[in-house]
């Protein structure tokens, strides 16, 4: 869980140039001024790193917080590990 959270936060700061002080667990993607293009790129990058498939439900990703995003990734990683019987 911490590894996923660390990756998401690191990604937001290093790739998307979000000021580090702006990234808290409750901050939403919209709060961080990530527009639709940036949000798609964020999901694509997470999919690539964690070998998962994230579905962008219309614009709902704008409203989700960092913590919710971390949880979504974790659920998918855990689910995938459970199904395939291998560690994430």
């Amino acid at each position: 869980m911490n590894e996923i959270r660390d990756h998401v936060i690191s990604l937001l700061v290093s790739k998307f140039d979000v000021p580090a002080e702006m990234v808290t667990t409750d901050t939403t993607l919209e709060d961080m001024d990530l527009d639709s293009l940036a949000r798609v790129e964020l999901l694509v990058t997470l999919e690539e790193r964690w070998h998962i498939s994230l579905t962008d439900d219309d614009d709902s990703s704008a409203d989700i917080s960092v913590e919710q995003l971390v949880q979504r990734v974790r659920d998918l990683v855990d689910g995938d590990a459970g199904e395939q019987g291998r560690p994430a």
Partner: protein
């Protein structure tokens, strides 16, 4: 129809010789080649390039945008901002609806495209970056400048290969003279130092195989064997002279005339007598109200390829029979910056006219019988009276563009100043 005189009130440059017009200009005057071995080209038939060094998009673009932009768009943002500031203009204070952006590029975000191709092949389509399309489309640097500068007038992209930047500048002058805008941000940008581009240019023997960085790019030299690929951006701020004078702007030089013509000959080889380039040159002089004898200097296309330099030198020698102008090619220092070259060279020609000095042709050692017929500036910069100077550009496809710049205090410039003063409004 009488055309309103056009003033150059600002310039901005990102070149292999420096980030900024002043740094680039000093390096070009010095004449030292910027070519260097390029680790990213290791294993390719040619591994020399003229890259922009020390460029950090987080510093030179800043804000939250750099990660979205291909390098060619980043260069364009940096250089255009410098040009706007140099003209003492500000996006916060102008009427954006009257500001045009015209940007030339030979290949757009080709590096982003090559990365995406590799990703599809190696990782599958789901891994392709969401930024791919906005990064590589050839108009996106232009669109980005419009966003960055709040410019809501005409926003046009020109693609005439290595004449693209010069074509953008003459297109912008037409827009100003047609009354379609009051300010034009015009120039070119390219970053084509990529494996595919280098391999493809090498296949058609366009690149120098000389491994000495100091002499690989040697325009008009007897031993020239191709160009060294470079990257960068150059921008001019153009305004109708009457508008520039009325707001008290410093006018660096006047864009006195321009010409555009095609070889209609062959896809990559220039016409042996540079037919299209000569036609563009004649048009430029006609529109400037000048004759061959008025031309003091030519900033040549001078790529360091066998065919271009021979055709261009022969054309210049046959055209200027009574009073040969001085000739230089800055590609000896900067390499060939592709679609940016015409705009970078236009900016450097403006500085030549403003400061009355011609930079030397880097890399040059000795002429051949064809190139010996022009008055090439070599060794060191030459102080010279410059009333009228031409910047010549040519590109694959047979595109040619010539820009004529006049000194503000020259007879041509004075005549145009008086004409501008008489113009109502």
């Amino acid at each position: 129809m009488s055309k309103a005189p056009v003033a150059v009130t600002g310039i901005g440059l990102v070149t292999p010789a420096g980030i900024g017009a002043e740094q680039s200009w000093r390096a070009v005057l010095d004449g030292t080649a910027t070519a260097a071995p390029d680790p990213q080209l290791a294993g390719l038939p040619v591994d020399l390039s003229c890259r922009v060094t020390g460029y950090d998009p987080r510093i030179h673009v800043g804000g939250r945008q750099p990660w979205r932009l291909d390098r060619y768009s980043q260069f364009a943002v940096t250089a255009s901002r410098e040009a706007v500031a140099d003209a003492n203009l500000s996006p916060g204070s102008w009427d954006g609806a009257r500001v045009a952006v015209v940007l030339g590029s030979a290949a757009g975000g080709v590096a982003s495209y090559e990365n995406a191709v590799s990703t599809v092949r190696d990782k599958g389509p789901a891994a392709v970056s969401a930024l791919t399309m906005p990064a590589f489309l050839p108009n996106m640097a232009c669109g980005q400048l419009a966003i960055d500068l709040g410019a809501r007038g005409p926003a046009l992209s020109t693609a005439t290969a290595c004449a693209s930047g010069a074509t953008a500048i003459l297109t912008a002058a037409m827009l100003l003279q047609a009354g379609a805008c009051d300010v034009a941000v015009a120039g070119g940008s390219d970053s084509m130092v990529t494996p595919v581009c280098v391999a493809a240019f090498a296949q058609i023997k366009a690149l120098s195989r000389n491994r000495d960085p100091g002499s690989a790019s040697r325009p008009f030299d007897a031993a020239r064997d191709g160009f060294v690929i470079g990257e960068g951006a150059g921008f001019l701020i153009l305004e109708r002279q009457a508008d520039a004078v009325s707001r008290g702007a410093r006018v660096r030089a006047l864009l006195a005339g321009y010409g555009s013509a095609a070889d209609a000959y062959q896809p990559v080889a220039p016409h042996p007598e540079a037919r299209g380039l000569r036609d563009a040159l004649v048009q430029a002089l006609d529109s400037a109200g000048a004759s061959f004898a008025d031309v003091d200097h030519v900033n040549a296309h001078g790529t360091s390829t066998l065919l271009n330099d021979r055709a261009e030198a022969l054309m210049l020698a046959r055209t200027f029979t009574s009073r040969p102008p001085s000739v230089t090619s800055v590609k000896g220092v900067l390499g060939h910056t592709m679609g940016a070259a015409g705009a970078i060279e236009a900016a450097l020609t403006v500085l030549s006219v403003q400061h009355q000095v011609v930079p030397p042709t880097g890399g040059f050692a000795a002429p051949d019988p064809d190139t010996a017929r022009i008055d090439l500036v070599v060794g060191s910069a030459r102080q010279q009276r410059l009333n009228l100077a031409l910047s010549c550009s040519a590109g694959f496809g047979g595109h040619n563009a010539v820009l004529a710049f006049a000194a503000v205090l020259s007879p041509l410039g004075t005549a145009r100043s008086q004409s501008a003063a008489r113009r109502p409004g």
